[in-house]
């Protein structure tokens, strides 16, 4: 399965489509960290970064999954089997969005934060970005070509889905991926107490979304 993950990542990088989400990432990081973050504001900034970048992760994941032609996907399915092809695509997308998240974590340590945050804040920041990677990759998979063939519908559902997640997450931690909840908790210094519920909700929604993606792929190939 690893050679297929490598093949998918290599194709995506070589196609230069990788620059689209990279530019999106840099734009978001520039906006968040342009004016600098004073001491004590690191975790709230990380939470905002994770929440906003979820859209970029979804965009990147969809781009990677849609990068190869449909016929190549069929060739890969016959080569490794339907399940492994699906998992390899998702692993490649997670690896790419994970790399974007790593940049988002390190970037402010170099140019954004007035002081280096403690290990706990970096750890919570990494955890929130990990949840954003998982949820964003899921949203990207659910809007990829095997699920939504029309590029216009795919783009609309991707952006609309992200906005719906934001709106619904204001209703409570289980209403959707709790993006606003984790931002709110970080800004009010309540993240340690609420982290377990936030992580459980984000993982549960992502697993449900990935199960839906797998179910659609089982029917549509």
């Amino acid at each position: 399965m690893i050679p297929l993950v490598t093949f998918r990542l290599s194709g995506y990088v070589r196609s230069h489509r990788i620059f689209q989400p990279l530019l999106g990432l840099l734009a978001v990081l520039s906006v968040i960290y342009a004016t600098g973050v004073p001491a004590g504001g690191e975790l709230p900034s990380y939470s905002d970064s994770a929440g906003i970048l979820m859209l970029v992760f979804a965009w990147g994941a969809r781009g990677l999954l849609d990068n190869e032609p449909d016929e190549q996907r069929l060739i890969a399915i016959t080569a490794v089997g339907r399940r492994r092809e699906l998992v390899a695509g998702l692993l490649a997308a997670l690896a790419f969005t994970g790399a974007l998240a790593l940049v988002a974590l390190v970037f402010p340590l170099v140019v954004g934060f007035a002081e280096t945050p403690g290990a706990a804040d970096v750890g919570y920041g990494a955890g929130l970005h990990l949840l954003a990677v998982l949820a964003g990759t899921t949203l990207g998979a659910l809007t990829s070509r095997p699920v939504l063939a029309s590029p216009a519908a795919s783009a609309a559902v991707l952006v609309g889905g992200y906005m719906a997640i934001l709106l619904l997450s204001s209703a409570g931690p289980w209403a959707s991926v709790p993006v606003l909840d984790w931002m709110n908790a970080a800004h009010h210094h309540e993240l340690p107490e609420r982290a377990a519920v936030i992580a459980a909700s984000a993982v549960a929604w992502s697993v449900a979304g990935l199960a839906g993606y797998a179910a659609v792929r089982r029917v549509r190939g």
Binding site: L4, F7, G11, R14, L74, I75, T78, G221
Partner: protein, 233 residues
Amino acid sequence: MRATNVSFRYRRGDPWVLSDASLDLAPGAVAEITGPNGTGKSTLLRLLAGLLRPVKGRIDERPAVIGYAPERFPSAQPFTVAGYLRHMAAVRRVDVPEELTARLGMDHLLGQRLPDLSKGSAHKVGLAQALAGEPGLLILDEPFAGLDVTARAELALIVAEVAARGGIVVASDHQGDLRTVPGVTRHEVRDGKITQVARVVEDDPLTTLTIKLPQSKADALAARLRAEGHEVS
């Protein structure tokens, strides 16, 4: 491998592409799938390859290693021929098919980028990746289309070799090149059914028929005769 009472349609409410169709393929079988355009040949090939699931019926005893060459190789990929074949060999956990690339006459293409290839050259890449790793089931969708004469003859030999070591080969073939392979059986897809077309028996010798007709109708008649399994030159 056995397809039993297979029915398939792409969406609920669509007409059935295949309806209660069956096909038995023993190890070493070479099956030529014929039929007019749009009757479901490619759909049947994808069902046999496991790329589509039958709506009704079942396909059993599919060999584990499958090689699939689509009708149109997806050449819009950012790799050289060598790079692509190297990746696909790694994916299949087999050696890079260097002997195959030589036999198909594509060694001079190895450094070229896939998007720069002609249709026939790209088709060879699709065949090479499908043939790598000694597939137990080889699914070829119009494998001879666009190939030069040498490659067509070599491909027929390779198909015979796959069958000789027990592999099953199923191919749609409008060109009729597969008929040079010993033991090939011909199956026609029409009206949702698969019908085995009777083989030409030895006591029914071949004859050559010359037909005079308006030039504008020649291509259509040639295509129809090929679809019916006749050799047209």
